[in-house]
């Protein structure tokens, strides 16, 4: 028998142990991640084909306005949305090309 399956087995056991040890943090982090996913999905849905300001996104999604800005800043950092034109004292935001293509009807998402 080769070493590889044995290594894989012991790795599996070690990972199980690690998951058990970190369970409370993982449960909390997973809950946060799920909430973040919902918020991100709502923001991206409202930006599909539209250019909106942070207060407009907040009004459309029902999310608190400062939370929306936090997500928008983050999505911008990871290249998922782009800053658009200015509307008064606010900037508008739109989806980046890759994300916009994913949001097209008929795409995998």
């Amino acid at each position: 028998m080769s070493d590889a399956p044995i290594e894989a087995e012991s790795r599996k056991a070690a990972l199980k142990k690690l998951i058990a040890a970190r369970r409370p943090q993982m449960i909390a982090a997973t809950a946060r991640m799920k909430e973040q996913r919902r918020a991100l999905k709502a923001i991206k849905e409202h930006l599909a084909g539209a250019e909106l300001t942070v207060p407009e996104i907040a009004a459309a999604t029902g999310l608190p306005v400062s939370e929306v800005l936090w997500y928008v800043a983050t999505l911008k950092k990871y290249g998922e949305i782009l800053e658009g034109t200015k509307a008064g004292a606010y900037f508008r935001y739109r989806l980046g090309q890759v994300v916009a293509a994913e949001a097209e009807p008929g795409s995998d998402e």
């Binding site: 070690a14 990972l15 690690l18 998951i19 970190r22 943090q25 993982m26 982090a29 997973t30 946060r32 991640m33 973040q36 996913r37 300001t53 942070v54 207060p55 907040a58 306005v65 400062s66 929306v68 800005l69 936090w70 997500y71 928008v72 800043a73 983050t74 911008k76 950092k77 990871y78 800053e83 004292a89 606010y90 900037f91």
Partner: protein
């Protein structure tokens, strides 16, 4: 956990901020081997996190990055990042440090800093490097010009989904890394542990961090930095470009009731700097600095202050007693005016910046026989004639570790501390470069 390793150097520098790096480079240039022990995942200290620096308005990362790179590439300097000092004690001629290497869960040798893991990670975490105003991932590189440019995992937020591991082109992710203790022996040490800003959470009068448009001066540095959270100055409440920005000076400093009776020394100048930078990026905004006294003590600083006045920054002499949320994200501010109108005044601003007091970055406590002054910063025994000398023979201090100071003074002190350390080494037969 047992101690795994013993590393030996001529000198140990504790803290990889600008003072520590300058001291380390000076020592290394004299051919002494130096270890820089840094608690964060990157070297650079506060300076690498600033936007521009007073009084020259140089881009901070443009002038800090070359120093960081010089230290990283110097054959005589070893950088030990993400390390926690447990103890530092003198044993005969040697100083022995017990240090804990915190796990990054990423193999430093293998990681190529490509960030693919970061893009794949599904968990968002408030990014302390951006003052919490945007998010990072649970696996992340601390910031774009961090040194080392290597990823690390934050186990509090990692869900062990394995995406980072799958996408890593060099198999650098290692969920099983453990804390490792090691000892480091050196003949001399320079303490360059800098400062921290006082926490806002317990300051009821300043909103305890619960009012989105009341931010700290370090957060404002991030807003002004080119790679800041929004890449421009917006108010954190709703992304509006602020029409009026207020700076509250001595927010905690020079106030016994808040535990910081001393002057934090750099706040007047950085607030003036930030107001000047804002007048460039938001030319129509009203900029007001609420101050008790303006302390423009360094070379060119008074001129800098006068330039700010000439640019239209409004300086109001008065003590701000209270801030509270106003209408639509505004901040209402109550202050006792010392101007002609006098009395208690109430005004509103779009964004308020707090010049919070500076506290020591590290206090030795039981971990080391170094003593501290009444201000809790490292005590210097000859503050006038030899400001780098501490109570412990062979241990010197540089930068804000001995008290709040600006970059110029930190650099000068780092040179002095390195010189003292060189002299100390030479007197004990260690050979400097000829």
């Amino acid at each position: 956990m047992g101690v795994q390793q013993n590393l030996k150097f001529d000198a140990l520098v504790l803290g990889g901020g600008i003072a520590g790096l300058e001291a380390a480079l000076n020592l290394a240039e004299q051919d002494f081997s130096v270890a820089v022990v840094e608690k964060d995942a990157s070297i650079g200290g506060k300076m690498i996190r600033l936007s521009k620096v007073f009084p020259t308005l140089d881009c901070s990362s443009c002038i800090t990055t070359p120093k960081m790179a010089a230290a990283a590439h110097h054959p005589k300097v070893t950088l030990l990042t993400y390390c926690e000092l447990q103890s530092l004690e003198r044993r005969g001629d040697e100083l022995v440090a017990l240090i804990t290497q915190k796990p990054r869960y990423v193999d430093l040798e293998k990681c190529i800093g490509c960030r693919q893991c970061e893009y794949q990670c599904p968990v968002l975490v408030p990014d302390a490097e951006q003052g919490g105003l945007a998010a990072r991932k649970a696996i992340y590189i601390p910031f774009s010009n961090a040194i080392p440019q290597k990823a690390l995992i934050d186990p509090e937020n990692c869900i062990l989904c394995g995406r980072c591991e799958k996408v890593c082109p060099t198999q650098a992710v290692d969920f099983f890394q453990k804390v490792e203790d090691f000892t480091l022996t050196a003949a001399t040490a320079v303490i360059a542990t800098g400062f921290e800003m006082m926490p806002l959470e317990d300051k009821v009068q300043y909103g305890q961090g619960q009012i989105p448009d009341v931010i700290t001066a370090l957060q404002m540095e991030r807003l002004l930095a080119p790679h800041g959270p929004y890449n421009r100055v917006l108010r954190p409440y709703d992304g509006k470009e602020p029409d009026s920005v207020a700076f509250i000076q001595c927010a905690g400093s020079r106030d016994q009731s808040m535990g910081v009776p001393y002057c934090s020394r750099v706040c007047c100048m950085y607030a003036i700097k930030q107001a000047m930078l804002l007048s460039g990026s938001l030319p129509l905004a009203d900029l007001t600095v609420y101050y008790l006294d303006i302390r423009a003590f360094g070379k060119g600083y008074e001129q800098f202050f006068q330039n700010a006045q000439a640019m239209g920054v409004n300086f109001v002499k008065g003590k701000v007693a209270y801030v509270e949320p106003g209408e639509g994200g505004a901040v209402r501010l109550r202050y006792e005016s010392q101007e002609a109108e006098g009395g208690v005044q109430v005004v509103e601003h779009d964004l308020v910046v707090l010049s919070l007091g500076l506290l020591p970055g590290w206090t030795p406590g039981a971990s080391c026989a170094l003593s501290t002054g009444a201000d809790n910063f490292i005590k210097t025994v000859k503050p006038k004639l030899a400001p780098a000398l501490t109570e412990l023979s062979g241990v010197f201090v540089a930068g804000a570790a001995s008290g709040p100071k600006d970059i110029v003074d930190s650099i000068v002190e780092a040179g002095a501390a390195a010189m003292e350390a060189c002299r100390y080494l030479a007197a004990r037969g260690f050979k400097a470069a000829g």
